[in-house]
């Protein structure tokens, strides 16, 4: 049995109904006010999101640059393939750090890279071209104008700029020229006369003063001189060191890539 069934029915006073109606009206007005507040909240969230995105974007860009001051040096580990020593006043950025590509951007300064990895895994971009590791150790310095020097101490480095390539082996160096890319590589023990001739681009002097080891430079000249001068360069190589059988003069002069590569590999046995 329910006790509610035994209670008497009584009429509510008028004042109670008035109070209830007033309360209902107040509630509807509150709901109307809540809509603009939600909009404001959404707008604020969007603003915070955009602001955070902007801060992140600028932050990552800035944080990616690593700088040393006038006296500091710093060593960067390059995954498990080697290291890069930064000299004073050097600014660089890690552009890619993946298993298949490790890439730095060197804005200016000096680095010494020691890499032990298969070729074409480590790259350093500069204003005047890209140094591509072919299994090597090398020093490179770049000025703010993009000029510099690449000096290889072990293995090979390829320096490329808009299709122009210098292959620099251990013991050789190559000047890096703004808006011109890599110069002709030559061995550090080359004669002053030869180095002067290379710097001046004096073909006759280069050919005339070249030693056996300077076939490194002559080999690069083959693809850089005018076609009419190519035979002179090749003939000088052939005078300095016997060209192995199977390397055709005609194919070299036609700049056949496979023949040129074979010639370079054979010449390397005399460097």
């Amino acid at each position: 049995m329910n006790i509610r069934d035994h209670l008497p029915l009584v009429q509510a006073p008028e004042s109670v109904w008035n109070a209830i109606e007033a309360a209902i009206r107040q509630g509807k007005q509150d709901e109307k006010r809540k809509v603009p507040r939600r909009r404001v909240a959404w707008a604020a969230a969007a603003a915070i999101f955009i602001l955070a995105g902007g801060v992140y974007w600028f932050g990552v860009r800035q944080a990616g640059w690593i700088e040393t001051n006038g006296s500091a040096r710093r060593t960067l580990r390059i995954a498990d393939i080697g290291s890069v020593d930064m000299g004073p006043n050097t600014r660089l950025r890690i552009a890619a750090d993946r298993a298949d590509q490790h890439r730095l951007t060197l804005a200016h300064g000096a680095i010494y890279a020691k890499i032990s990895a298969p070729p074409r895994l480590f790259f350093v971009d500069t204003k005047s071209g890209t140094a591509i590791d072919l299994g090597c150790e090398y020093a490179m310095n770049i000025g703010e104008d993009g000029s510099g020097v690449l000096h290889v101490t072990k293995g090979w480095v390829s320096f490329q700029w808009h299709g122009l390539e210098s292959l620099v082996p251990a013991g050789a160096l190559c000047r890096i020229r703004p808006a011109k890319g890599p110069g002709l590589p030559y061995f550090e023990d080359a004669t002053q006369e030869f180095v002067r001739a290379v710097d001046q681009g004096a073909l006759d002097s280069i050919i005339g003063s070249a030693r056996v080891r300077d076939t490194l430079t002559l080999w690069h000249l083959l693809s850089r001189v005018a076609p009419g001068d190519r035979a002179r360069v090749y003939d000088r190589i052939a005078v300095l060191t016997p060209v192995p059988a199977g390397i055709s003069r005609g194919r070299v002069l036609a700049l056949d890539p496979e023949t040129l590569n074979r010639l370079k590999e054979e010449l390397a046995w005399k460097w």
């Binding site: 990895a117 299994g135 090597c136 072990k154 082996p169 251990a170 390397a268």
Partner: protein, 176 residues
């Protein structure tokens, strides 16, 4: 055009056919010369020897720190080639000798001699064989790698006297 020997026909002089005697004489003179010319490249091709180079010649990043790399030439059957290397030095009156490990590079027939010796002045003695043919070399090594100009090559293993002479030839203070 009619061919008439030794006569000028149509503005061209045709040489007379040589006599049998002249032909025989020429054959006697030319045959040995032709045989020599044919035999010489064969002889050169069969000369089994060593060739040395900077590690860059191996085109293999794994041997970039080697003291030098070498290959053999003149062995028609590359799989028969056997090579070994020994390091020797003279510190005062004491002679030191070390058997060196020869590392095969990724290029067939190209080997590397890694620096496995103490600092100082050393020479590396290479010995090789290709069947019955033999070859040898003495390679002085300085702080900056091998010394090409002072290296010596033989068609046999180097004799003890030649090794002694190479060690004694090291300049005071060593090769630069």
């Amino acid at each position: 055009m009619e061919m008439v020997e030794g006569k000028k026909i149509g503005g061209k002089k045709i040489a007379p056919r040589p006599s049998n005697v002249a032909m025989k004489t020429a054959r006697h003179r030319l045959l040995p010369l032709a045989m020599l010319l044919c035999a010489s490249p064969l002889a050169w091709a069969q000369a089994f020897t060593f060739e040395i180079a900077s590690p860059v010649a191996a085109q293999d990043f794994r041997v970039k720190s080697a003291a030098f790399v070498f290959r053999t030439t003149g062995c028609p059957e590359a799989e028969k080639v056997e090579v070994s290397a020994t390091g020797q030095s003279l510190a005062g009156t004491e002679r030191k000798s070390v058997v060196l490990k020869v590392v095969a590079s990724s290029k067939p027939g190209v080997y590397a001699v890694l620096q496995q010796w103490e600092t100082g002045q050393w020479i590396v003695i290479l010995k090789g064989s290709c069947g019955q043919a033999q070859a040898g070399a003495i390679i002085p090594v300085g702080p900056h790698g091998f010394v090409r100009e002072a290296s010596k090559f033989y068609s046999r293993p180097p004799a003890a006297a030649e090794i002694d002479a190479a060690i004694k030839a090291i300049p005071p203070g060593g090769y630069k």
